[in-house]
Symmetry: C2
Subunit: 347 residues, 2 copies
């Protein structure tokens, strides 16, 4: 093998190495660090090149590319969404991503992002909860106990100081799995048999249900004064989690309105229904929660900047660790004009 020049090499973080990196850093620290990076990037919102995601749709799913750039780094995520995959033993959502230098156009990191997306989605919820929930919140109801649920619970513990989580899922086996996975991680966990039971005494309600059309797992009478809701499971057109009446009376916060109006809970509302962009709360330009009695809603759908923040974090974190391998991804002939000569000499 011809020795590849260092300029030809791009660090790659596999699923296996991502798991090692997370344990090396610690899951809660990792999520808290992601929350910090997301907060930093949301605070410089105007510097980002915000392109809507580019989707390729078929009858059974979608493949999307989500690019963004802050002028220094460029990142994109490849992500698919195929609800029918679960029944075939495959992941509904898989993802990977790349971080590049804007100045040279050269990739600087390639990473798995199935795990990383779960971690950054939880970190994003924690950022929203920290800025919007009533002070002193101790208890979260976690509605929907699938692949996202444990990450969500640990994130609000690490970032917001939540100590109690109350689990509910249509499938009790999912709640049991979630409770088992959270065992020993420092949270007081209660498995509930109805959503009504789950929301009892909770100052924060997070819904992460999936695969159902226009769900109304949470109805208006279940949401008391002062509660903060994170609705993160509705993330495509035709998929929502909350009854319209809750959305109508809540003070709504979103990532990027042009995307959320298509994919989020607010697709149930008129196109001019008032929402606040979360970055404006983070920078202090706009007030978040206006009163102790107000219901606040973070209508989270996931935005490219969060992936960018996560890739930036992994790029920083793998330095001087064994948790990556170098890929010979970039052709680097000695004379840049002599690509053919490089190929010919390899023969």
């Amino acid at each position: 093998m011809l020795k590849a020049s260092p300029r030809a090499l791009v660090p790659f973080v596999s699923v296996d190495n991502m798991m090692r990196l997370v344990h090396h850093i610690g899951i809660e620290t990792f999520i808290a660090d992601l929350a910090r990076n997301i907060t930093e990037d949301f605070a410089k919102w105007d510097q980002f090149d915000k392109t809507p995601r580019v989707g390729s749709h078929s009858d059974v799913g979608v493949i999307e590319l989500m690019p963004t750039s802050d002028g220094v780094f460029y990142g994109f995520k490849y992500v698919n969404g195929h609800p029918k995959n679960m029944g075939e033993g495959l992941q509904t959502v898989t993802a990977f991503g790349v971080l590049s230098d804007v100045y040279s156009g050269y990739p600087r990191l390639m990473s798995e992002m199935t795990l990383l997306t779960a971690l950054r989605t939880a970190a994003m919820t924690a950022v929203a909860t920290k800025h919007l929930a009533a002070p002193g919140a101790t208890t979260m109801a976690m509605i929907g106990n699938g692949a996202q649920s444990e990450f969500q619970c640990l994130a609000v513990k690490a970032v917001c100081g939540i100590s109690h989580v109350r689990l509910y899922d249509l499938d009790p086996a999912a709640s049991a799995k979630c409770a088992r996975n959270l065992d020993g991680l420092g949270l007081h966990v209660t498995q509930c048999t109805s959503p009504e039971q789950a929301v009892e005494g909770a100052q924060v309600i997070t819904t992460a249900t999936a695969d159902k059309d226009m769900q109304t797992i949470l109805t208006d009478n279940m949401v008391g004064a002062g509660v903060h809701i994170n609705a993160i499971g509705g993330d495509c057109p035709g998929k929502t989690e909350l009854h319209r009446d809750i959305v109508a009376r809540a003070n709504i916060f979103v990532e990027y309105p042009p995307q959320t109006r298509i994919e989020g809970e607010i697709q149930q509302m008129p196109a001019d229904h008032p929402v606040t962009e979360l970055w404006q709360v983070i920078t202090g330009q706009t007030q978040g929660r206006k009163s102790a009695a107000e219901v606040t809603l973070f209508d989270g759908v996931g935005f490219a900047i969060e992936d960018f923040s996560a890739l930036r974090y992994v790029h920083e974190s793998i330095k001087d660790t064994p948790y990556y391998v170098d890929l010979d991804l970039i052709a680097d002939p000695d004379d840049p004009r002599d690509l053919f000569g490089m190929l010919k000499r390899a023969g």
Copy 2:
């Protein structure tokens, strides 16, 4: 290391392995096979999801994502363009790409595409030349002898039976490099000291110059009756290679008009200047060359379907070869809902 399931693995073709694969198959056979795949895909043009490329521009360059799908496979290419890189010892253009199953959304191939793009660009020129040049063409003038030139010469030899190439570049050292690289590969090569000398007796003229604004390296009086021109170097707004008078009198063929009108030679012409889509010539829906005396012009800018054809070819070709490695790119927990459990058990 936890053993990754086969479903988690994605074959990766590095630069080194791409060079080995090309030599294993043979450069000319590889290019001829790519030309066949491109012809097949252009023949089913209507089946493709054709999205304009998504670019992120900075003062010094651009990073683009070029996705497309035929409903069975989905492919995209990441490609940068940074003219100033050459002066810093880096490639102006680097690329990699991914081919996925539309049905599952799972990636099936990740590949370097810096070399592969040079090969597919040459194959595309050969397809156009085969369909548009006057029958019996034996001689091509190759204007611009940079990184693309040798690939271009070998492609028209392999696909169109060109036996003589006449080289010209503003920098004689580039022509010398090209001639040296083509030595022993079965072409009769003449180095020329002016573009006028290069086009003498040539039935085909290919221009692949770079980095100059609105070049007119080819002027109208240099182009005789019956000549076919491939202008492949102009590939971004503000960059052209041909004098407007040549464009005005040629019968023009393009890949995808919405892209070519922005990036190609025809950006010099009114937005409704008549052009023919090459796929219509390939399918026989439209006539190509109309007379022996006509000047035909392939205004090539490179389109996502060509990258798709190339990725499809590499995906087929690496089977049962040692020219790839498997990347652990996709998280694949035993229970798809138990992503956290997979992470926890890895601790």
